[in-house]
């Protein structure tokens, strides 16, 4: 299942990424131009102040945040699939997003952001939640010295349920007024944030994605198996730990703002592989750009499809992601490595 011909070359790498950047620019342009109010990009050129506010203060920040979140989750999915050697891995399914959500939520419920205004407390707690969840998966899904695929999916189901229970428990014991919008946040939605917040989430995500992209060759080798990677010179333990920490970092950075948007990390790397082949040196940056396009487009649909009512974007990604999961599951079943 691949269209790309031949091993990766610089020409193909740069051409593919340029094409995807163009698609992203187009998605942002279209997304900024449509909405329930009927204001379009033309109004911006006509110096209509209301339209400027609508587009620059409401639509654009939301689009940018959606693109950043999609990019982060898309590349995190590519990392987790390769490192855990599991084509069904995704930060949401594995419970990494849930761990990040619980961390962020617990920090807020405890009132920490107000106590420590100069520290990104939510993000730090989200990161801790994500990293602990990954460590838990590694500890529990080793069977006979190897990572087993199905146990880790079961672990994800259970941790997600427990995290949800904990979040609802915390919600019950603290004041509800401070936490309105929880329902929306829990399934993942793109809020309208200020530009400084978007910039900081974007900076962390960009750093993480860039760092992960440098490990494309190691990801190829890790996806071929631990022994293969080791015999080809990868310091497996250290590299793998670094990569899951980076994957958790970008996941936590966006989940602390958007809530656990699901399935991006599952769908996007598979689409990227169909379009561009399995080489992670291209797959990681391609997954981040495809993720950006996919989530920005999904959020535009979420804003407009039932206008004036808005859907949380997590509803759309879950409705796409669920069937996709089963499609991949059926395709992978029967392959010997996936038992």
């Amino acid at each position: 299942m691949r269209a790309a011909a031949g091993p990766l070359t610089w020409t193909r790498l740069l051409a593919s990424l340029s094409l995807l950047l163009l698609a992203l620019a187009l998605t942002l342009l279209v997304g900024a131009g449509v909405g329930s109010s009927g204001v379009g990009l033309g109004d911006l050129l006509r110096r209509n102040d209301d339209a400027a506010v609508m587009i620059l203060r409401l639509r654009l920040p939301r689009l940018l945040l959606a693109a950043i979140a999609g990019a982060a989750l898309g590349s995190a999915g590519a990392v987790f699939q390769a490192v855990l050697r599991n084509p069904l891995a995704d930060p949401y399914i594995l419970g990494v997003s849930g761990g990040a959500a619980l961390g962020a939520f617990a920090a807020t419920a405890a009132g920490l952001p107000a106590l420590l205004p100069f520290i990104p407390v939510r993000q730090t707690f989200a990161f801790a939640g994500a990293v602990l969840t990954v460590a838990f998966i590694f500890a529990l899904s080793r069977v006979g010295g190897r990572l087993a695929s199905y146990p880790m999916l079961l672990i994800g189901v259970v941790t997600n349920t427990v995290y949800l229970a904990l979040i609802l428990f915390i919600e019950t014991i603290v004041e509800l007024t401070r936490l309105h919008g929880l329902r929306l946040w829990m399934i993942g939605s793109i809020p309208v944030e200020s530009y400084p917040v978007i910039a900081s989430v974007g900076a962390v995500s960009l750093f993480g994605i860039a760092a992960i992209s440098l490990f494309g060759r190691d990801l190829n080798l890790l996806s071929a198996g631990e022994d293969t990677a080791r015999s080809l010179g990868v310091g497996v333990e250290r590299t793998r730990a670094l990569l899951v920490v980076l994957g958790s970092l970008v996941t936590a950075a966006v989940v602390s703002v958007t809530g656990p948007v699901g399935f991006i990390g599952l769908i996007v790397p598979h689409v990227a592989r169909i379009l561009f082949g399995p080489d992670h040196r291209l797959l990681v940056p391609a997954s981040s750009l495809i993720g950006a396009v996919f989530l920005a487009a999904s959020d535009t649909v979420a804003r407009t499809v039932m206008a004036p009512t808005e859907l949380p974007v997590g509803v759309i990604t879950a409705l796409c992601g669920g069937p996709f999961f089963f499609w991949i599951y059926r395709r992978q079943r029967g392959r010997t490595y996936f038992e």
Partner: protein, 277 residues
């Protein structure tokens, strides 16, 4: 015990390229050591067949020699230097290991898989250059897969896939090639082809080859030296006709066998007759 004394680790006068000295190793959770004082050396241009019954420690020895496992005691030395002091990538430029491993997760093409053998020689951001392609294509020629480079690896037959993995190891341009049962799951024709390739590489390119084998006759015919492992001990090491004797096969494999001579090659031919009486 006298005739079971190991032969000298390498041919006299040539220092072994890869050498294990006094290895000690215990599997995690096992009650006792698998190896407690194991020494073996591989020399340039030699083709060693590693034989022994199930559970004798063949695979573990390959992994220790290849640097994939750390011994609890003793030392593995590569070109005279302790391997533990060597960075993983430097080691991977000198030793290639082909293990029996789960198939590839993603559908890389044959050429992409073989190019992975060049990974230890690439820079951080590096894509493969002309030199890497040349090495990969030469390796594909060595294993007779030159027409297959664009095929997805998952669509190959198991014999072709095994040869692709050997080509990946050759693309590393190693001094030492370690293989764990390279011919498991292969039919006679393909098993023979692999052994011929290994023999040729050791003769023509000076590669030190060690291959684990369950097929004693195949190993005896192609390898110049057999190493027999039993319960973690090296019980015989030398030319095939010295290692494969009816007494030793009875002792180690618990099998009555006659050892004849292959009229064509002169190699010993083990004819099993039944379980040990």
């Amino acid at each position: 015990m006298n005739d079971a004394r190991p032969e000298p680790a390498a041919a006299p006068g040539t220092a072994p390229v890869l050498e294990a000295i006094g290895l000690r190793y215990r599997h995690p959770g096992a009650p006792s050591d698998l190896f407690d004082d194991l020494s073996i050396g591989l020399s340039t241009g030699g083709f060693v067949g590693l034989i022994g019954p199930n559970g004798s420690g063949k695979t573990t020895l390959v992994r220790l020699l290849g640097g994939l496992l750390r011994p609890a005691g003793g030392q593995v030395r590569l070109e005279g230097r302790p391997m533990s002091a060597l960075p993983p990538r430097a080691r991977a430029c000198r030793i290639a290991v082909v293990l029996q491993e789960s198939p590839l997760l993603f559908n890389f093409s044959v050429l992409e898989v073989v190019l992975m053998g060049r990974a230890p020689r690439l820079g951080l951001l590096g894509l493969e250059g002309p030199k890497d392609y040349a090495a990969a294509r030469a390796a594909l020629r060595d294993v007779d897969l030159q027409g297959r480079e664009g095929r997805p690896i998952q669509e190959l037959s198991s014999g072709e896939r095994q040869r692709a993995l050997i080509a990946r190891a050759l693309a590393q341009e190693p001094r030492v090639l370690l293989m764990d049962e390279p011919t498991a799951f292969l039919d006679m024709k393909h098993a023979l082809a692999i052994y011929e390739i290994l023999g040729r590489l050791s003769r023509e390119q000076g590669l030190a080859v060690l291959a684990v084998s369950h097929d004693l006759n195949l190993a005896a015919r192609h390898a110049g030296r057999l190493v027999l492992l039993h319960l973690g001990r090296l019980v015989a090491d030398g030319p095939p006709d010295r290692v494969l004797t009816p007494e030793r096969i009875r002792e180690v494999y618990e099998t009555e066998a006659e050892v004849a001579r292959d009229p064509a090659s002169g190699a010993p031919l083990v004819l099993p007759k039944g379980p040990r009486r």
